[in-house]
Amino acid sequence: MRRVSRIAVAGVATAALAVTVSACGSSSTSSSSSSSDKNLGLALAYDVGGKGDQSFNDAATAGLDKADKEFGYKSTAVEPQDGESDADKTQRLETLAKQGYNPVIGVGFAYAPAVKEVAAKFPKTTFGIVDDNSFQAKNVANLVFHEEQASYLAGVAAAKATKTNVVGFIGGVDVPLIHKFEAGFKQGVADTKKGVTVKSQYLTETAAEGGFSSPDKGESAADGQIDAHADVLYAAAGLSGQGVIKAAAAHKVWAIGVDSDQYKQDALAKYKASILTSAMKNVEGAVYGLAKSVHDGKPETGEIRGSLANGGVSLSDSNPAFANDKAVQDAVKKAEEGIKNGSITVKTS
């Protein structure tokens, strides 16, 4: 038993040592050179699977590039690690704020707790949080969108375009944010044409499984829906949406893109004839807008919600086949007016 107690002592001592060692070093933020007199520009912190999704996150990057060009910023964008916790996100935002970036924007609702914590520590810096309005603070802009409104219009377009009376919805990950896309889409379809079936499917349960970042998953889901006679597919699935569009092109059915105007994207140029339209979410504008407001000395704060009315969300008409189809356009216009004047209320779930 003597040995046991020795090990217990060693264990406690080690733990105690760890604590004291921690207590004596200086902290990284207090010692790093805080050269925050000059604004370096804006900083984006992505969530897992961010950069290069041709969709949501890249839209944020586009906003950053635009701000860089206009204000001569040297902005930065940082990607996360796998399996990190809120503490890591907090540390990341803190580092960015300390280094003098303003505004600091967390892309994705996962940053909410971190933004909330760090914003309190850096009252002079403006923070942005995309897709979250769970809290408000004086120096935080909650950049949120009426995704369901654009999705409603996508639903109207899909209902008009379908010949088989079966349309499909493919969500990247089964989360409330994507449920909004689905709800708006379904309502749009139902209000436009009776008897159209919406096949609904989510690729994964969690983002960690790759629902937003696996074109192969999107493709096989799309193949399945096409087999079930769907001839218009709406994908709200980030990078995975590319697979959906590819499958649609291969089977000569319509795909509806999301977040950015996917008809115009180089990576999808091969398939663009099959991209009917895109339900756009102007993350680019929101990011740029926040940066501009900071630059102009009147930082935005509180909930900034993009809607059809303020152009924060919209339906693209770059595909001539879509833009020139009068019947469809009329229906879409009518629905848009209805949403704007409040005669149509789009559900969010």
């Binding site: 090990i7 921690s22 200086s26 902290s27 933020t29 796998d82 890591d88 707790p113 409330p176 349960e205």
Partner: protein, 374 residues
């Protein structure tokens, strides 16, 4: 006897040291190949380790790694590969968060109760794989991998707002836990942060792990089964019961591995609760040679690589990719597997040779041996 003790220490230390050195060298090769300074990143990362707030992050993260790796190591010690630690961990954390949000006992009851909930959930989940293996011969590797996926879906279902979920913005959570279940940490100041109170749970688990394995009859049976299933069976170990028990304990430990974070910091299970801990833990258990002390060092090393590497992104004048740390972690796992096996065989041969030589010397001088024996 002294000599063989030293021998064993040598063999025990040689593996990880060789692995680490190899991993560092190979990482430097990667850096050189991509035209970067091959040493600067290490200096930057070590500098980070000197900052107290980074140290707090490291210790906190290591506590999660440690508990999960102990769960993996328990399985390893009896030749069970519990790949399901990740699912057991997430499910355990979620159930604990749910119970913590709905039940409010006094703190001295609430915390043990929550630990029990986490442990039972993890044990139940791992137990499914155990029962399948015992009754149907299903490999625990396959069963636990599948249970990981099933856990994901179960969590997705249970956290639907119709069931137990609470929507915060667009994030699905299980609601904030009652504060009697919050475990206070050691606050080291505004700039530095807080060390999770349950870091001490990790330490206690490490001690318990050592005691059970090395000082109890049960632990001996478990190790014997791991070393030679046939010998254990002949010595009277009920292999099936052992498999089931080991799975249950491993799962119970896995079930509480997320609790330092849950009870010490976030107080809710949400979409942003870190996933993948159980897989990282496999590497850590390997690196730590299933030894409680070794695992502690390995967990700290892993946490260090995790927490010191983000600084590489902001380094001036030249930024490095923080993925260097990920590359290094991968290389460590590789190197560990190879070097351990090599060192193990080398050690075995070396000992056999020494024993042979010693006995040959005795045989050459039989009278001397007789004197010793008499």
């Amino acid at each position: 006897m002294k000599k063989f003790d030293k021998e064993r220490v040598l063999v025990a230390v040689a593996g990880p040291v060789i692995a680490l050195v190899a991993a560092v060298l190979l990482t430097s090769v990667v850096l050189i190949a991509s035209g970067k300074n091959p040493f600067e990143p290490y200096r930057l990362m070590l500098e980070q380790a000197g900052y107290s707030d980074v140290q707090v992050l490291i210790v906190n993260q290591a506590s999660l790694y440690y508990i999960a790796a102990i769960a993996v190591a328990l399985g390893f010690r009896m030749n069970l590969f519990n790949i399901g630690v990740d699912g057991q961990y997430r499910l355990g954390a979620m159930m604990t968060a749910v119970v913590g949000a709905h039940v409010a006992l006094p703190s001295f009851l609430q915390v043990p109760m929550l630990l029990l909930v986490g442990a039972l959930t993890g044990a139940m989940w791992a137990g499914i794989a155990g029962v399948l293996k015992v009754t149907r011969g299903v490999s625990e590797v396959v069963a636990t991998i599948m249970l990981n996926s099933i856990a994901t879906s179960v969590i997705g279902y249970l956290t639907l707002t119709d069931n137990l979920g609470v929507l915060v913005g667009d994030n699905v959570t299980t609601g904030i836990m009652k504060d009697s279940g919050w475990v206070p940490g050691i606050d080291l100041g505004q700039d530095v942060g807080e060390i999770y109170g349950l870091v001490f749970l990790a330490v206690a688990l490490g001690i318990a792990y050592w005691l059970v394995l090395n000082r109890t009859r049960f632990g001996f049976d478990l190790r014997a089964t791991g070393e030679s299933e046939t010998a254990a069976a002949a010595s009277g170990v009920n292999a099936k019961r052992m498999v089931l028990t080991a799975m249950l304990i491993s799962g119970a430990v896995a079930g509480i591995s997320g609790l330092p974070l849950l009870l010490g910091d976030v107080h809710t299970y949400s979409l942003s609760f870190p996933a993948g801990l159980g897989f990282t833990a496999i590497g850590i258990a390997l690196l730590g040679r299933n030894n409680p002390g070794g695992i502690a060092l390995a967990a700290l090393l892993w946490a260090f690589l995790d927490k010191a590497s983000p600084a590489l992104d902001y380094a001036v004048p030249v930024a490095y990719e923080k993925e260097i740390a990920t590359i290094m972690q991968g290389l460590i796992v590789f190197a560990v597997v190879i070097s351990y096996e090599a060192v193990r065989q080398w050690g075995l041969r070396r000992q056999q040779k020494q024993v042979g030589a010693q006995l040959a010397a005795e045989a050459a001088n039989p009278n001397a041996h007789k004197e010793v024996a008499a």
